[in-house]
């Protein structure tokens, strides 16, 4: 428990989600242990002792998340925020707010949700199994709030309803993000030569996965990565963190002669169908923020599928050359494994509505990573152009 608490408090800082010294994590085995002394522990101890859980995390998010959190939580209707991204829809459902940093109010909310945000204080998340859950949820909340802010911002400018606080946060965040993305170094290409050996494939997956996380192109344990070699697909396991893939890559025979890869990513079917129907050999899936934001920007009036864009959008939408398709995680009737593989033919990548970017390449994972950065930069610029068109900057 102590090791995990240390690991995730460090990771929160490394991922730019918290400032050094901010995360307070408590883990309960027989006794409750903490990563540091903190006056908030008194309240959190009451919370953890009132719930059937093993871990709790409280931290003030780093900027720009903290400003966004405060802005959205003060605006929240019925003290609940409803982001439209896939992670919220699938795993969080919504993000509740407690106006008071007080145990009973927090307990009431956490009895039925994995997180609560407290304006001017931060985010509290809980885990039933491991501190890893607190990190995952914290990271997802930050991601969801970021995406919602920019989705709302675009809506505000198109409806001519923008306020000064929004503008300030917008300008600060865009400056931060532009600066951040411009510093990401692309990797040198492998001269378009495919990998031939299993150990090369595994090394390449581990390296590219870590790079994707280090560049903050995917949050917590989401995202997936694969490479096809001969008659097998090597793919990251479900719930694995792309920066920790050693021992977490499943070899899946394409003919499915073994189910040992039942633990493979939930997007295994989509990856497999892409390999079967194209000449691609490498696939990378991340959650770059402006790709996701761009996918949400549709203001079509009177659409009969309003509110169901993620599963039923009938439009052929694009971010320049990149198709935007509907589809949910996995293999359900609205699963992205139905929409993504046909859309990615002869394309660098595809954005799945509210979810993230899938990139495929005929040769290497390095190329997919470089394309990921290019497409995210392109989506950032596209977003800014759209905002500019509405004279809001």
């Amino acid at each position: 428990m102590e090791r995990l608490i240390k690991k995730y408090s460090k990771k929160l800082v490394e991922h730019g989600l918290c400032n050094e010294g901010s995360p307070l994590i408590g883990g309960l085995e027989v006794e409750l242990i903490w990563n540091k002394k903190d006056p908030s522990r008194k309240i959190l101890e009451k919370v953890i002792n009132s719930l059937n859980i093993t871990s709790i995390l409280f931290a003030e998010p780093a900027e720009p998340y903290f400003s966004i959190l405060n802005y959205l939580s003060f605006k929240a209707n019925e003290l609940t925020i409803h982001p439209k991204d896939c992670e919220t829809r699938t795993f969080l459902h919504d993000i509740p707010v407690s106006l008071k940093f007080e145990a009973n109010s927090i307990i009431k909310i956490l009895k039925n949700r994995k997180s609560v945000i407290i304006p001017k204080h931060g985010i509290i998340t809980i885990g039933t199994i491991s501190p890893e859950q607190t990190f995952i949820v914290y990271s997802s909340v930050c991601f969801a709030l970021f995406v919602k802010f920019f989705d709302d911002y675009y809506y505000s400018i198109t409806s001519n309803n923008i306020n000064e606080q929004q503008k300030t946060i917008f300008n600060q965040t865009i400056d931060y993000y532009k600066n951040f993305i411009s510093k990401i170094k692309k990797v040198s290409s492998t001269n378009n030569i495919s990998l031939k050996k299993e150990d090369e494939v595994i090394k390449s997956i581990i390296k590219t996965g870590k790079l994707t996380v280090d560049c903050l192109m995917v949050d917590s344990f989401f995202g997936n990565i694969s490479y096809k070699l001969k008659k097998s697909i090597y793919i990251s396991q479900t719930g694995s963190s792309l920066d920790e893939l050693i021992g977490c890559i499943d070899k899946c025979p394409i003919n499915q002669s073994s189910c040992a890869a039942i633990t493979a990513s939930s997007e295994f079917s989509a990856h497999k169908d892409i390999y079967l129907n194209t000449k691609n050999k490498a696939i990378l899936h991340g959650h770059p923020k402006f790709c996701v934001i761009m996918s949400l920007l549709c203001r079509k009036n009177n659409c009969k599928f309003k509110g169901q864009c993620h599963i039923k959008c009938p439009e052929k939408r694009y971010a320049k050359d990149i198709p935007i398709v509907s589809g949910e995680v996995g293999t359900g009737i609205f699963g992205l494994y139905r929409t993504l593989p046909p859309a990615i033919k002869n394309k660098r990548g595809v954005i799945v509505y509210g979810h993230g970017l899938f990139i495929a390449d005929k040769y290497s994972l390095e190329n997919t990573f470089n394309n990921l950065i290019d497409i995210e930069t392109m989506c950032l610029n596209l977003y800014l152009e759209k905002v500019k068109e509405n004279n809001a900057i």
Binding site: N112, I262, T263
Partner: protein
């Protein structure tokens, strides 16, 4: 009343009478239904011997049964186990639970003993005791053939009639209330079958709210590779776990002397799919449909059966597994205990059991013939008879399922702490130790496992009481089911409130076992796991469990569970949970 019917049917077979019980709402509030409610009503008689006239055989549905709640087509059957002496319950699918609800009952409490073999036929509030002497000795399908198609039934086979301590009750021909010998309890009461038909419908408080919750649950299950993925259990059945267990070096092999079976790739779910071209089936209201029926209507084995009828007994023939499964099903025997008892027999006799012998031994057990007279008592008693107790791989006399605990330390603890004896389903730590849900934990450590197991036991107690399916919780959580519960019953609740009820239900079970003398000394694993390693490969080394670490973890578990150092309930904890108990 929404969700529940508010009525329980009490049948006294000695007097051939029945009465209606109407529990107070607070009993439903505290024990929910299914396993929780059955446990509440079992406790009053738990000190009775399993074959006493006063012993109850309980069939309980939950508030979600017979509603459109996902995977709610299940129910609990409970009594005291003839095999272990602990309580014994089985969460079982099929149509019977739904029909009991439709007939207007939340559950059936059966006491007494009929003079002659009978069938109990229930149509709504009309109850008939039918002479079934002519069905004595009939197999499951022979009994079913006497009924109209698609009848909802619970039947015992010849195994139960012949005193097999691990005999099952079979629902609708292919759903099995297995493990500790519930079939024998039913046989002791001289019931060959129960048939129920209901014409009512369970009331749902807010169908729109239920639709919203369903949508969330379907989204989560679609996102689960284990459930609905191409290699998942919807496509391959629970047998999808077969390759995984072998690849993780935790497939019990040669009576748990090894943990990897070289022939596994030839006996996996893919081979069944190719050979038997199975179609999907499952419980009512389930969208996962994990049961598999072959092209010639063979009921294909589930994971535990696939594993134990191959690796555990050294069988390399696929057809033998299907035939063995069929014999157990027709005779009404638990496949885990049957195979494990054969493995124990093989070790003691120092002989490999040929494929033909596997099948003939199963018949001998079910019909109590020859060596079957000894083997029908299960591996613990058989090994004891032969003076070789160490060959019985049991916990509290119940044979262990197909997850070697040396490969998953949470499983080691949960085998020991399970209130229904050696069982994988009370906490099912495979979820996080192997399947990585909700997150992966280190399978080779006891650190942190005590609390995780306690919480998982509470969770599964809720699942079995609602009632719904444990597999679904590889994806969904109680957050979504709190919404389902509210939509069905109109009673607002939360995930944590439900978990609290699970804690009460589990603790209540501890009090029942304590009343029958079970203490910490019974919460232990076979010595083999502490002395001998499993099979190691470069990928993973399977070492013997460290006894000191295991005992420390068990001690931590007692503290967290609120038990004393002897693993016994305390006044303080029972008062806190509102459970009757005297120190």
């Amino acid at each position: 009343m929404f969700g529940w019917t508010g009525k329980i049917l009490c049948l006294d077979l000695s007097k051939k009478q029945y009465t209606t019980l109407t529990p107070n709402q607070n009993i439903y509030d505290e024990y929910i239904g299914g396993r929780g409610l059955a446990g509440y009503y079992l406790k009053e008689v738990i000190k009775e011997p399993w074959d006493s006239e006063k012993m109850r055989l309980l069939f309980f549905t939950g508030p979600l049964t017979d509603t459109p709640s996902p995977t709610s087509g299940r129910m609990t059957i409970m009594s005291r186990s003839p095999l272990t002496g602990t309580l014994c319950d089985s969460s079982v699918g099929g149509t019977l639970g739904g029909q009991i609800k439709k007939a207007g009952w939340d559950g059936l409490i059966i006491t007494g003993k009929s003079q002659n073999m009978i069938g109990i036929e229930i149509i709504d509030s009309s109850i008939n005791f039918i002479d079934a002497s002519n069905l004595k000795g009939s197999t499951i399908s022979e009994v079913i053939s006497k009924f109209e198609k698609n009848s909802s039934t619970a039947i015992i086979g010849p195994a139960a009639e012949n005193g097999v301590l691990f005999s099952n009750i079979v629902l609708d021909s292919h759903h099995f209330a297995g493990r500790g010998g519930l079939g024998l309890v039913m046989a002791n009461k001289n019931i060959k079958y129960i048939k129920v038909k209901g014409t009512g419908k369970t009331s749902v408080f807010d169908i729109n709210e239920l639709r919203k919750a369903r949508e969330k649950i379907f989204r989560l299950t679609a996102a689960s590779p284990i459930l609905l993925g191409e290699l998942g259990i919807s496509n391959y059945g629970t047998g999808a776990l077969y390759d995984l267990m072998d690849s993780r070096n935790m497939m019990p092999t040669d009576n748990f002397k090894a943990t990897k079976f070289n022939y596994a790739p030839k006996l996996n779910a893919y081979q069944y799919k190719n050979k038997y071209e199975p179609k999907k089936t499952g419980c009512p209201g389930c969208h996962i449909l994990c049961k598999k029926i072959g092209k010639n209507n063979e009921i294909l084995p589930e994971f535990e059966t696939m594993s134990h009828f191959t690796a555990l007994i050294g069988n390399k023939d696929l057809d033998t597994v299907v035939k063995a499964n069929n014999i157990c099903n027709e005779m009404g025997m638990d496949t885990i205990s049957a195979a494990a008892t054969l493995a124990c027999y093989s070790e003691i006799k120092e002989k490999i059991i040929t494929k033909g012998k596997v099948l003939s031994l199963l018949y001998d057990i079910a019909l109590s013939k020859g060596i079957g007279k000894e083997l029908k008592l299960g591996s613990y008693r058989y090994a004891e008879l032969k003076g070789q107790e160490e060959a019985a791989m049991t916990v509290k006399k119940q044979e262990l399922p197909a997850y070697d605990p040396r490969g998953a330390y949470g499983m080691a603890l949960s085998y020991a702490t399970s209130t229904r004896s050696g069982c994988h389903l009370r906490a099912y730590p495979i979820s996080h130790e192997i399947l990585r849900k909700p997150v992966a934990t280190d399978r080779f450590t006891f650190n942190g496992k005590a609390r995780i197991i306690k919480i998982s036991e509470d969770l599964n107690a809720v699942i079995d009481s609602l009632t719904t399916c444990k597999f679904l919780f590889f994806a969904a959580t109680l957050e979504e089911y709190a919404q389902v519960f509210y939509a069905v019953t109109g009673i607002k609740t939360t995930a944590q409130d439900l978990l609290k009820k699970g804690e009460r239900i589990y603790y209540n079970e501890y009090t029942m076992n304590a009343l029958n003398g079970f203490t910490s000394k019974d919460n232990d694993l076979p010595k083999r796991f502490f002395k001998n390693p499993g099979t190691s490969t470069i990928e993973s080394k399977i070492k013997p469990l460290k006894r000191k670490d295991f005992l420390k973890c068990l001690k931590d578990y007692y503290k967290i569970r609120g038990l004393d150092k002897n693993g016994l309930p305390t006044k303080k904890e029972t008062e806190k949970l509102g459970i009757e108990w005297k120190d």
